[in-house]
Amino acid sequence: MREKLESYRAYLFLIPGLFFLFLFTYLPIIWSTWLSFNEWNLLSPKPVFSGLENFVKLWQHDVFWLVMKNSFFFVTVSIFPTMFLALVFAILIDERMKGRVYYIYSLFYPTLIPMAAAAMLWVYIYSPNLGILNIFLAKLGLPKLGWLGSSQTSLWALIIMTFWKNLGFFTLIYLAGLQNVNRELYEAAYIDGAGWWRRHFSITFPLVGPTSLFVLVVAIILTFRVFDQIHLMTEGGPGNSSNVIVYYIFENGFKFFDWGRASTLTTILVLILLSLTLIIFGIFGKRITYTAD
C-alpha cells in the first residue's frame, strides 16, 4: 500500500515535465504526422486530406532521393572520424600530454562560438581565390577547389566544417567517460608490455563503450539535424548538392510554403531516427561492458 502511494507520488512529480514534453515534443510529432497526409501549401491554403499522395510524390521526386543520399552520406562520413578523433583527443588531454592547453583551446573554441559566426568564418576560409584553404592548397602545388561553389565539394566542405565544430563537444563527453576507467588498468597493461595504441585499443576503447553508444546516438541525431551551417553557407546548393533532410524540410516549409510536404519529410525523419536508435540499442545495448561494478 505504502509503495503504491510512493509510485503515485512519483507520477505526480512527473506531471509538469510530462506536460511540457507532450506540449512541445509529442503533440508536434502527432500534428505533423497528421499533416503529412494532407495537402497544404501556398495554393491550397487550408489542409485537405490527400492520403498518401505526399509520400508518393516524394518517392517520385529526384531531389528527395538526392537529399536522402546526402543526409546518409553526411552522417556516415562524419560520424566515425569524429568519434575516433574525439576519443583520441580526450585520451591525449586526459594523459596530460605536452601542449595540452593549446589543444584544449583549439578543440573547444569552435564548440563555444555560435554556429552563425563559425559559418561566416568558414565562408571566408572556403573562398575560392582569397580563402586561406585554397591559398594553402596552391602553396602545396595542388589545384584549388571550388568548395562551397562546386557540387563536387560542397557537401564535403560542410562535413569538414561540421567536424571542426562538433569535435570539441564529443571530446568533452569522452573526457568525462574516461574518468570512469580505472587508472590501474593502464599500469597493469603497461607492465605487461602493451604500447600506447595497444593499451587504448584493448582497454580504453572497450571500456568507454557506454560513452561511445551515447556519442553514436547523439552524433547521428545531431548530424541528421544539421541545418544552420547549410542555411548560412550554401542554402543546399549548388544544384541541391549540399541539401540535406532538415534543410529540405525548411525549404519546403518556409521557402516554398508546402507545409504538407514539409510535414511528410518530418515524419520520415522521425521514423529514420527512431529506427536507427532502436537498431543501435538492439545491436550494442547488451554487448557493452559497464565499468561500474
Binding site: 580505472n182 597493469a188 603497461y190 608490455g193 582497454i203 572497450p206 561492458t289
Partner: protein
C-alpha cells in the same frame, strides 16, 4: 634467481620529496614487506621498481642490472594492484592470458600456463566468467594468477588485501605465503597494515615520511625497535610512552615518572648508565604489563598503582586504559582480571622488556646511541 637493490633512491614530485635516500638490498627468494603509514613513500618505492615512476636520483638494480631506464616489460617483474586492475570486459582466462599474448607466447603455452595457475589458485571453474561476476576474494586470486602465469623473478604486491574483509584477508595472507613457498621467487609486498607485515615478511622495511626507519626480521624489529616511530608502529596495541627522568638510587638506575618510579634491571642498566640524569621517553608494550593478581613471582618495586579508565574485554585478554598521573597508558592483561572501572589497581611492568628513547627527534633508542 633474483636480487633487488636500491641505491640511495630519491623521488621528488616537484618540490615534494616522496622518497629520500632509499637504500635497500633484497636477496633472492626473500619476502620483503614495505610497511608504513599512508604517504610514507612505500608505494612510490615499489612503483619505481616496477617502472611506473621515474627515479629522480639513485639507481635500482634487478639481478645486478641497473633498470632505471629499462621498460617495465623487460624488468622481469609482475605486479598485483590494490584494486586488482582486472580488465572488466575480459574473461578471467583472457585477463590471465593478456600479458602472455602481448609477449607472443604460443597459444598452447598460454593455455597451459593459465590452466596451471588457475589450478594452483583453485579458480579453474571461473575461467569463463567476467570480473564483475566474481567475489572480492576470487578477484584477488585472478589478480595473483595474472602475475604468476608470467613466471617473473620478482613479484610486486601493492596493498593487495586492503579491499578484502578481515576474515578473507587472514585467509589470503596464508595463501600468498604458501604461494611464495611454492614459487620460490622474490616478493616485495607493500602494506600499511603492520600485522600483515609481521606475519608475512621474512624481512620488513618500516618507512615514514619517505625514509627507511628500520629494516629487519619482524621479531627483531618488534623486540628492539631502533626508534620511537618503529616502536609505536609495530605491535598492537601500540607501545606506551611516558616521559621520565633517569635517576640513580640504591646503586641502580631508575625511571622516575613522578607518579611512579621503576628500577631498570642490571642487564640493561649498563647500557643506559651514560644517560643518567637525562629526561627521556620510557616505552613499554601493553602486553608487558600484568595484573598483579595473576602473577606469582614479581619484584614489588615494579608495581604501578593506577586508576582504571576503560575496560575492553577482547576474549583472550582484556585491554585496559589506566591513568597514571596525567598520562594514560594501555595494558593488556589476563582475561579474568577483576579490574573495576574508576578504581585503583596494581599493575606489574616487565622491566626486562622496557625501552628508552631520546627526547630529541628522531627519538633514537638509547640502547644504540
Amino acid at each position: 634467481m633474483a636480487t633487488v637493490s636500491f641505491h640511495y633512491v630519491t623521488k621528488r614530485f616537484g618540490n615534494f620529496v616522496a622518497v629520500k635516500d632509499f637504500d635497500l638490498g633484497i636477496g633472492d627468494k626473500e619476502f620483503v614487506v614495505l610497511v608504513g603509514p599512508s604517504g610514507c613513500g612505500k608505494s612510490t618505492s615499489l612503483r619505481m621498481l616496477a617502472g611506473l615512476e621515474k627515479i629522480t636520483e639513485g639507481t635500482i638494480e634487478i639481478d645486478g642490472r641497473v633498470v632505471n631506464n629499462v621498460h617495465p616489460k623487460d624488468r622481469d617483474i609482475a605486479m598485483v594492484f590494490q584494486n586488482y586492475a582486472l580488465y572488466p570486459h575480459m574473461t578471467v582466462y583472457k585477463n590471465m592470458a593478456f600479458g602472455l599474448q602481448l609477449r607472443r607466447f604460443p597459444k598452447s603455452e598460454v593455455d597451459k600456463r593459465v590452466h596451471d595457475a588457475a589450478e594452483i589458485l583453485e579458480i579453474s571453474e571461473l575461467l569463463k566468467r567476467k570480473p564483475r561476476e566474481l567475489s572480492g576474494g576470487q578477484r584477488q586470486r585472478v589478480a595473483v594468477g595474472r602475475a604468476i602465469v608470467r613466471k617473473p623473478s620478482v613479484f610486486l604486491f601493492d596493498e593487495p588485501l586492503s579491499n578484502l574483509d578481515a576474515k578473507l584477508r587472514v585467509q589470503m595472507r596464508g595463501e600468498i605465503l604458501k604461494l611464495h613457498h611454492r614459487l620460490q621467487s622474490t616478493i616485495i609486498y607493500v602494506t600499511h597494515d603492520q600485522i600483515e607485515a609481521m606475519t608475512m615478511g621474512s624481512k620488513i622495511v618500516i618507512m615514514n615520511a619517505g625514509e627507511i626507519m628500520q629494516v629487519g626480521e619482524p621479531i627483531k624489529v618488534y623486540d628492539s625497535p631502533d626508534n620511537m616511530f618503529v616502536a609505536g608502529f609495530i605491535g598492537s596495541p601500540a607501545m606506551n610512552f611516558l616521559e621520565v627522568k633517569l635517576i640513580s638510587k640504591d646503586r641502580a638506575l631508575w625511571v622516575d615518572g613522578g607518579e611512579f618510579c621503576l628500577p631498570i634491571p642490571d642487564s640493561k642498566g649498563q647500557k643506559y648508565a651514560q644517560h643518567k640524569g637525562k629526561t627521556c621517553y620510557f616505552g613499554i608494550r601493553p602486553e608487558h604489563m600484568y595484573d598483579r593478581e595473576f602473577i606469582k613471582d614479581y619484584d614489588p618495586r615494579n608495581v604501578i598503582k593506577a586508576r582504571v579508565d576503560l575496560i575492553e574485554p577482547v576474549g583472550s585478554f582484556v585491554i585496559l586504559q589506566i591513568v597514571v598521573g596525567k598520562a594514560t597508558i594501555v595494558a593488556q592483561v589476563d582475561s579474568h582480571t577483576r579490574a573495576v572501572l574508576g578504581e585503583e589497581m596494581d599493575l606489574v611492568a616487565d622491566m626486562e622488556k622496557m625501552h628508552l628513547f631520546s627526547t630529541d627527534p628522531p627519538h633514537l633508542s638509547l640502547s644504540i646511541s
